[in-house]
């Protein structure tokens, strides 16, 4: 929807801007304080969490840039800062996520290699503890890419059946890497949830 300035000529500038922004960007997700460990903070940006509700369905997005993070070279190992620090990127709580019934992993930039050797097979995993660092196993598979991730690829899990209060980690999906750092790579983890029905 396009609004011309003269369509709202009777309104003051501030109001006009609010309304113009509304129609141009009808977003319902808002950035909220994220739950992530220091080992998940790369050199480009820290993980960002966005949350909103539409028709009672709760949508959470976690945006992660891999730049500066590293893989240790073993399947199921968490991806994070090679210098250490817990590297969870989020946490599933019923209050913030609802009962999650679908998860999508959307790649908007293909991971690139800064130092050898990296893997492109990257999964979302979960673990009941927040104390997993780079090079440690994240126990439970949530959403496996099953191969090389890349720009424009989306992976969907319709049966996540998450465990409440688990922490999310990005992890290696194979053992192709050898302590390589990522030079790029951007992923959006999108989760759909709903609270239990009430009368």
């Amino acid at each position: 929807m396009t609004i011309s300035n003269h369509d709202m000529s009777v309104l003051d500038t501030s109001t006009k801007k609010v309304l113009t922004d509304l129609f141009a960007k009808p977003n319902f997700l808002e950035q909220v304080p994220g739950t992530f460990g220091p080992g998940a903070v790369g050199t480009y940006m820290e993980p960002r969490t966005y949350r909103g509700e539409l028709n009672g369905h709760i949508i959470n997005e976690i945006h992660v840039d891999l730049t500066g993070l590293a893989n240790a070279g073993t399947d199921t190992y968490a991806i994070g800062l090679s210098t250490g620090g817990y590297c969870y990127i989020g946490r599933h709580t019923l209050a913030t996520h609802g009962i999650v019934y679908r998860i999508e992993m959307i790649w908007v930039e293909t991971p690139t290699q800064a130092t050898a050797t990296y893997t492109l097979d990257i999964d979302l995993r979960a673990e009941d503890g927040a104390d997993i660092s780079y090079g440690e196993v994240a126990d439970d598979s949530v959403l496996a890419a099953g191969g090389s991730v890349g720009i424009g690829k989306t992976y969907i899990d319709n049966v996540p059946a998450l465990t409440t209060n688990d922490y999310f980690y990005l992890a290696e999906g194979d053992s192709a890497g050898t302590t390589g750092k990522y030079g790029g790579g951007q992923v959006i983890i999108r989760m759909f949830g709903h609270q239990a029905l009430t009368a």
Binding site: N55, N158, V159, L197, T198, A199
Partner: protein
């Protein structure tokens, strides 16, 4: 989208409040005020709720059902689940004028079905051309089978191929191990995506 109270100084308070509510509650589904289910589909936790709305010409219909208090006759697939005392057990009717041409259906499980004896979680969405079936009544067509509904899981069909004016029932799936029993838990959210015929 956050709108500060002083963002629209030229707008009177009531209008500003309305605009703020619009921005923070972008829901487009509204509860259908008249019931679209039979008396035999009303459990003890809550009556089925139907919500409907349109966005970008896509018609979304949701039916929220809590199985608590509903009864399964067991052992026979494709039979209706409903009140033991009887009453038409349909949860909705496929009226194309209301639903549009439905091209996708999801069953989202928010609580795993469970109950006395061997109440099965293997449930289906069934369709039948009559709306008089009571609990245990045969429902001709299986639209979407869960093969065992579990919390946090979504079941999808992209080829529902519905017949206009059919009635929707929750039916026993292929699990013939089920016995007679009354559900004590189980929350299902049925979501239909439709579009009017192009004109």
């Amino acid at each position: 989208m956050n709108v500060k109270d002083n963002a629209m100084p030229g707008v009177e308070t009531k209008v500003r409040k309305t605009l703020k509510n619009l921005l923070t509650n972008p829901d487009f589904l509204e509860r259908v005020p008249t019931t679209e289910h039979g008396a035999g589909a009303v459990g003890t936790a809550m009556a089925p709720k139907t919500l409907r709305g349109t966005m970008n010409n896509t018609i979304v219909t949701e039916i929220h059902v809590d199985l608590t208090g509903l009864y399964i006759t067991g052992t026979t697939t494709k039979t209706a689940i409903g009140l033991e005392a009887g009453g038409a057990a349909y949860i909705g009717e496929y009226d194309v004028a209301k639903y549009g041409v439905v091209y996708r259906i999801e069953i989202i499980c928010l609580e795993t079905p469970a109950g006395g004896d061997t109440c099965t979680a293997d449930l289906s969405l069934g369709a039948e051309d009559v709306g008089t079936n009571e609990v245990g009544g045969a429902v001709d067509d299986t639209v979407l089978n869960t093969a065992g509904a579990a919390v946090g899981c979504t079941y999808i069909t992209n080829t529902p191929g519905l017949t206009a004016d059919d009635y929707f029932y929750i039916t026993e799936g292929a699990d013939a191990a089920a016995d007679t029993g009354t559900y004590t838990a189980g929350q299902l959210l049925f979501r239909f995506y439709g579009h009017a015929v192009l004109a």
